[in-house]
Symmetry: C2
Subunit: 226 residues, 2 copies
């Protein structure tokens, strides 16, 4: 399935949400926002008919995800086989304490993307992709660092995954209980899950009194992402 | 590969960590602790040779994971096909700001489990599994709730995944930089990522002044898990 231009991903067999359809979202804005809010993605593929799953750091550039990880061997095999990948990012926003176990759940934002990965070989695209992954995790840090050495670029594997198909699921708000359960004398609601940055911990190898750089200071003041 | 009794999972082709081997852990204590700390797992399987990935809530009972999700249709198909599943739980503990982009990374705890899922059909095992999943997410809540109705049990799909093979990866501590980079006048270290519970948000349908139940109060005081 090709990604079409437009506000929504085309819905097909691959990406149709089959359960809790009311939570399904196919619009690019929602899919992009969840991908941009996550820190790591789980990437699954089939190798000799068996499932493999690997957590990877990533960043989005338009309709392309750049995946980076110390997984070069597997990624290369994956690419040689022309294998399809399925990628998921899930952010937990709250625990939903309903009036029954059956209706208790979690509030979450989740995106699943399908596509065929491509090894990034051109130096310019690789550098741009690495910068993007770095900025996704540590905004502003790239410009504080020396440029990568050629050797480092060669040792790094970057994979581009064009979004061929995608869907999101988003659940929010209080529990939905059985009609008769609302009369129970029991608290129900949501316990929010928040993700925050702690105080930066300096490398013990730093000279005494070293202060975090502006990018790190800025990051530590911001809200962490799950 | 069968799980052997003992302190470690047997290392084989399926679960051997191939990259960053120094971070690899095969001991049950580490694997179990990470599984017990996570809230959701990503479960991957192959369907007609193509990867599928689904986030699910779960709980561990010894060497068995119980998976629960609104995914009944897919789970049933998966089981009918006798498909293998690969499950990953990844917890991000910190962003590692090194002195170069190449050495920057994340500190994380990650577990991957392989096994062949089995649909839980006996009522007693299903009830015990649901209790365990509930207690994993909302400790103490189960006993505050009415027992599940028969109809609810029938509508719930629970899958048992015996751990046939597993591995963990754990990275901690400050960055490891290139020797020559330590002389750079640049802060380096770790920005911790912490996961905390916010103040419980009562269902608007509650009577005015309803106080959270003891389980919810206790949960909100505890440290959230990612």
């Amino acid at each position: 399935m090709k990604t079409e231009n437009g506000a929504e991903y085309a819905v097909g067999d691959r990406n149709r949400v089959r359960q809790v359809r009311a939570a399904a979202r196919y619009d690019r804005a929602t899919v992009h926002a969840i991908l941009d809010a996550g820190l790591t993605a789980q990437v699954a593929f089939c190798e000799h008919g068996r499932p493999v799953i690997v957590p990877m750091i990533y960043a989005r550039d338009g309709e392309t995800l750049y995946l980076h990880g110390a997984r070069k061997a597997r990624i290369v095999r994956l690419l040689e086989a022309g294998t399809e990948a399925a990628l998921n990012v899930t952010l937990i926003d709250g625990l939903v304490a309903a009036r029954s176990a059956f209706n208790s759940s979690v509030n979450y934002r989740s995106v699943t993307v399908y596509g065929h990965p491509r090894l990034v070989e051109g130096e310019a695209e690789k550098l741009a992709a690495l910068r993007r992954v770095s900025e996704h995790l540590l905004p502003g840090r790239w410009d504080e660092l020396r440029p990568p050495h050629d050797r480092e670029l060669k040792m790094t594997g970057v994979v581009a995954l064009a979004i061929e198909s995608a869907s999101a699921k988003v659940t929010t708000g209080p529990p939905e209980d059985e009609d008769e359960d609302y009369a129970l004398p029991l608290w129900a609601g949501v316990v929010p899950v928040e993700h925050v940055f702690g105080a930066p911990e300096g490398d013990p190898a730093l000279p005494a009194g070293s202060a975090p750089s502006p990018a790190i200071e800025s990051l530590a003041r911001s809200r962490a992402r799950p």
